[in-house]
């Protein structure tokens, strides 16, 4: 079985305990306005262009089979209307300026890569984390990978938006030691607006995980004007506090790393100019969470 993976990051230290290797799945049903991995949305490989690496050798133009799909004059180089993301230009590019994001990998291939850092997991209590994109978009592959990880004796973490089929999540949860579960906006209408999908599915899934009994850490991206109201945080904390398998809420500070990626993909970034919240603001929200007798951390 194969899955579409867009990155495997070693020495991941913010996606679960210890030193970990994070496998990023490509494909996501959500469309969060602040997404810092927008290249992970589409469930197919995509050609990306890094202008600062281009040496102007013209190898890509020779390799491209579609007239007009590559435009040397354009800042983003790729005409996404014509490009089929076949990846021939990326193959021809010696400078890694054109890169094919997303690679079909077997479970064995991923495990082989993850195994390379086993000594580091053993010292630190780390292991493998599945993230994305949304791993549940490739549920079968995700479950197979988690199973393989568990049978190899790895500590496994699933980092999910919670948006997926309940039976998939239930099955995946059987093979993980910890779930990192995103809660972004509690208000249904607002959720639809800034995230693009129904919050109800996510909330039902979170409650289901409580029934299963797998440990969950709630993660909240703190995005000014989008998710950072006291009211929203209070609602999140209340929900978290009602679940026996949740002890901790991580507040993830907004950063602007996604901005350039949006441009590269030729998508307008609605959050242009938005500043990351300051320490004071983060601590205020942290206090709201702590008021519910939960452990709260600030990250980023």
């Amino acid at each position: 079985m194969k899955g579409l993976v867009f990155d495997i990051q070693r020495f991941s230290i913010h996606d679960g305990p210890g030193i970990r290797t994070t496998v990023f799945f490509k494909g996501c049903p959500l469309r969060c306005q602040w997404c810092h991995n927008p290249e992970s949305w589409l469930g197919k490989p995509q050609v990306l262009f890094y202008a600062n690496k281009c040496i102007g050798c013209g190898g890509c133009l020779k390799a491209c089979p579609i007239k007009g799909a590559l435009d040397k004059q354009s800042e983003t180089r790729i005409n996404h209307k014509l490009c089929t993301d076949c990846g021939l230009c990326a193959e021809a590019c010696p400078a890694e300026a054109l890169v094919l994001c997303g690679r079909e990998m077997t479970v064995e291939e991923v495990i082989e890569e993850v195994e390379k850092d086993r000594p580091f997991y053993e010292t630190s209590g780390g292991g493998m984390t599945l993230s994305g994109g949304e791993p549940l978009m490739q549920a079968e592959f995700a479950i197979a990978l988690l199973k393989a990880g568990k049978s190899a004796g790895l500590h496994t973490v699933l980092d999910t938006s919670g948006y997926g089929k309940a039976e998939h999540l239930r099955e995946a949860a059987r093979h993980v030691d910890l779930v990192l579960f995103d809660l972004k906006v509690m208000d249904a209408a607002r959720h639809r607006e800034v995230v693009g999908v129904e919050a109800r599915v996510i909330h039902d899934n979170l409650r289901m995980l409580a029934e299963v009994g797998v440990p969950v850490i709630i993660r909240v991206p703190v995005i000014p004007t989008r998710t950072d109201s006291a009211e929203n945080l209070r609602a999140i904390a209340e929900m978290a506090a009602s679940l026996p398998n949740v002890r901790q809420v991580d507040l993830m500070r907004y950063n602007r790393l996604g901005e350039s990626k949006w441009q590269r993909l030729g998508r307008p970034y609605e959050l242009n100019g938005l500043q990351p919240p300051d320490d004071e603001g983060m601590n205020r929200l942290k206090a709201i969470v702590e008021a519910e007798k939960l452990e709260a951390t600030v990250q980023g």
Partner: protein, 714 residues
């Protein structure tokens, strides 16, 4: 030989123009040439040292803990100098002095000096070392003198003339040291200080100096004064296992309530400041105590605390599996200040490597391994390791073989075999040269200060350069392994496997330094690279390092022991790249080669775990001279306790995998970029390079650029 009157005139003239060492050297006459004097010139050197110590200018005392503070006694502009490196002359300095000379006698003396000193044969490079401080603290130099006198009597009785000559000259050296000691006391005595705190320090220093270092030390303060004296006498080189040999004094005084933590910290800070400003080198702290138990203590923590934000000493922290959390915390706090200190050492791997090297190290000496200079491995107080006798630049030899042999090789293996054959011959020639330099050192350049301070020179009656130290091995820099591995990977893939380009075409491109062939250069860079945990590159790294380390380890230097490979390149990796033509790893001609044992700058792209996996693929166990690894970690990776714990996990795992040494730079890329554009705004920025830390503003532009290109992890 010149007549008595002429000789006296020459000696007088030399003293007039500040050539104290030379004046003493010529006290018994001016020989025609180096070869015409009695060899080795033990008594001449002893008298040179005595005369120098009796006359060298001394700075005023300013109320510090120690004297002389931030200065030294060996460099006072002599054209013929004596230093721990050895002694020698500067023809340019002689010319300068000649221009300023005021009498004919002075000019004649300088002419004779130049003519005589140019007859010495070549004797090679550096010799960092560590005096046996603890023995001075226990016996006092008076005890040393008694051993010399006893040795002299025994040698006379047995008719061992060479030993007689050595002991007699050592007594002259001791006499010189006594004179210097008296002059130090005079300087401290005559200082008038209005600040009461300084005056208190002055009185304490004076009272300590009236006893140490000639009598044994009794408490922390006078032990520190004695150590300072010996450190200065040795030429401001290394402190060795400072926290181990000072610990009994520290703990006794602390327990008795005679020493406050802050006062101890203040004294250690003063020692570090002195080392920093006087271009001192290494202090090795932590690790196994003499009895085999964990030796890190409160004093170790003070040593680390005192090093925060500093460039030197080059603090080397030895770590064990059971090193307490407080030591780790202190170390990571210090590392977080960004100056790269302390460097971290996986002690168990040194024990293993030193045992496997069959250097004959006694089990009770093994815990006393420490470092000199950047990080050359030696045994505290008992070694003459000829640290960095020379540098073996592999890429420069590789390029040479490449252009001669590649086109006629049918397979990659054939090329690799020819390259190895060539290297084997080069290592033989290189090590033969070092041996001949060592022989010249013993014959022409005796080092009597070190003969005095390092075991077992006195006890064996053998001079230091002649092999009197208990351990004699030669640490040599083996440079540019990453470039070789990357280049071999590229050749294998592009020329031999895929046949994308012919050997002849590639050689032409390299000769043209990739001119007009940027796409090809980038293509070459895409090949497997050392530093990414990629088995295709790492297996070559393993094979090649086994080969080259074996070539060194299987040879014995003239003075004894073995040739120990190391890779600790300090700021030299930029210069080492200058003579190296373009290489198949995509490196342009004349640009820096890889820093020490790490990846080529910026080629490690898979994170620190992958980099360290590559490093541990090297045959580390056969390179106990120390393979230095610099890693740059982003500042944000050290901001929370959890993140620090992960960094600790990273290092501990690396040591469990066989890693020996790692130094961590915590400087953000934005800061570095700004420092590159505006060095004047970052005068205090300290960067870890090669084996130790240096001010950013002192680095060449090439080197700054190469540091900017290093991968930032985190």
């Amino acid at each position: 030989m010149a007549g008595t009157t002429e000789k006296d005139t020459a000696v007088e003239a030399l003293n007039e123009i500040g050539e104290y060492f030379a004046a003493g050297f010529f006290e018994d006459g001016v020989p025609e040439s180096a070869q015409a004097m009695e060899l080795p010139p033990l008594m001449r050197v002893a008298k040179g040292i005595r005369n120098h110590l009796a006359r060298c200018p001394l700075p005023p005392y300013g109320g510090e803990w120690f004297y002389p503070f931030c200065g030294d006694v060996w460099s006072c502009g002599e054209a013929v100098w004596h230093h721990y490196v050895r002694f020698g002359h500067s023809a340019a300095a002689i010319d300068e002095k000649r221009k300023k000379a005021s009498t004919d006698a002075q000019r004649a003396a300088l002419d004779a000096l130049g003519a005589f000193w140019s007859t010495f044969p070549p004797a090679g490079g550096y010799t960092h070392s560590i005096p046996h401080y603890d023995r001075v603290l226990a016996e006092g130099l008076d005890g040393f003198e008694r051993r010399i006198r006893a040795g002299l009597q025994r040698a006379r009785r047995l008719g061992e003339d060479e030993k007689v000559r050595l002991y007699e000259s050592l007594l002259v050296v001791i006499e010189g040291v006594r004179i210097l000691h008296g002059r130090f006391i005079g300087q401290v005595e005559s200082a008038h200080l209005s600040d009461p705190e300084q005056e208190t320090r002055r009185r304490r220093l004076l009272s300590a100096l009236r006893r140490v270092p000639f009598e044994p030390a009794t408490g922390f303060h006078d032990a520190m004064v004695a150590v300072h004296f010996i450190y200065v006498l040795d030429g401001n080189d290394n402190l060795g296992r400072f926290d181990q040999f000072m610990r009994p004094f520290f703990e006794a005084d602390r327990k008795a309530g005679r020493l406050g933590r802050d006062e101890a910290l203040d004294m250690i800070r003063a020692t570090w400041t002195h080392m920093d400003r006087s271009t001192g080198w290494n202090a090795a702290i932590g690790g196994t105590a003499a009895g085999g138990e964990q030796g890190a203590s409160e004093l170790t923590i003070l040593c680390i605390e005192a090093a925060r934000g500093r460039r030197r000493p080059n603090l080397a922290l030895r770590l064990r599996e059971d090193t307490p959390q407080e030591i780790w915390d202190a170390a990571l706090d210090c590392i977080a200040t960004g100056a790269g200190l302390p460097a971290l050492y996986g002690e168990q791997n040194y024990f293993r490597a030193l045992r496997e090297a069959h250097l004959g190290i006694r089990e009770d000496d093994l815990p006393w391994f420490a470092f000199g200079g950047c990080t050359e491995t030696m045994v505290h107080g008992r070694s003459n390791v000829g640290s960095l006798d020379a540098h073996f630049n592999i890429p420069v030899r590789f390029v040479d073989v490449l252009h001669r042999e590649l086109a006629s090789c049918g397979t990659f293996d054939e090329f690799l075999a020819r390259f190895k054959t060539h290297l084997r011959e080069e290592v033989r020639r290189f090590t033969d040269d070092i041996s001949s330099w060592q022989a010249n050192k013993a014959r022409y350049f005796p080092q009597l200060i070190r003969t005095l301070l390092i075991d077992d020179c006195i006890d064996q009656g053998r001079e230091y350069a002649a092999g009197g130290a208990r351990y004699n091995w030669s640490v040599n820099n083996v440079e540019g392994i990453a470039n070789i591995v990357d280049s071999l990977c590229a050749l294998r893939e592009v020329v031999f496997e895929n046949r994308e380009i012919t050997a002849a075409e590639l050689l032409a491109v390299l000769r043209d330094d990739f001119k007009g062939r940027e796409a090809l250069r980038k293509r070459l860079e895409k090949c497997p690279r050392y530093g990414n945990g990629d088995e295709r590159a790492d297996s070559l790294a393993r094979e090649f390092s086994e080969f080259i380390f074996h070539e060194f380890m299987s040879r014995a230097p003239w003075r004894g022991g073995r040739f120990l490979p190391a890779c600790l390149m300090f700021v030299t990796y930029a210069d080492a790249g200058k003579p190296v033509g373009a290489t198949p790893d995509g490196r342009r001609a004349g640009t820096p080669i890889a820093d020490s044992a790490g990846a080529y700058q910026g080629r490690d792209r898979r994170g620190p775990t992958a980099l360290l996996r590559s490093v541990t693929s090297l045959d580390l166990v056969h390179a106990p001279g120390t393979m230095v690894v610099n890693i740059r970690i982003s500042k944000k990776l050290l901001s929370t306790p959890d993140e620090r714990e992960r960094l600790k996990d990273l290092i501990r795992t690396y040591f469990r995998m066989g890693g020996m040494q790692i130094q961590i730079n915590v400087v953000d890329q934005a800061v570095l970029r700004d420092a590159f554009e505006h060095p004047e705004r970052h005068e205090d920025l300290i960067i870890r390079v090669g084996g130790y830390s240096e001010y950013w503003s002192r680095l060449s532009r090439d080197l700054q650029l190469s540091i900017l290109e290093r991968t930032e992890h985190g």
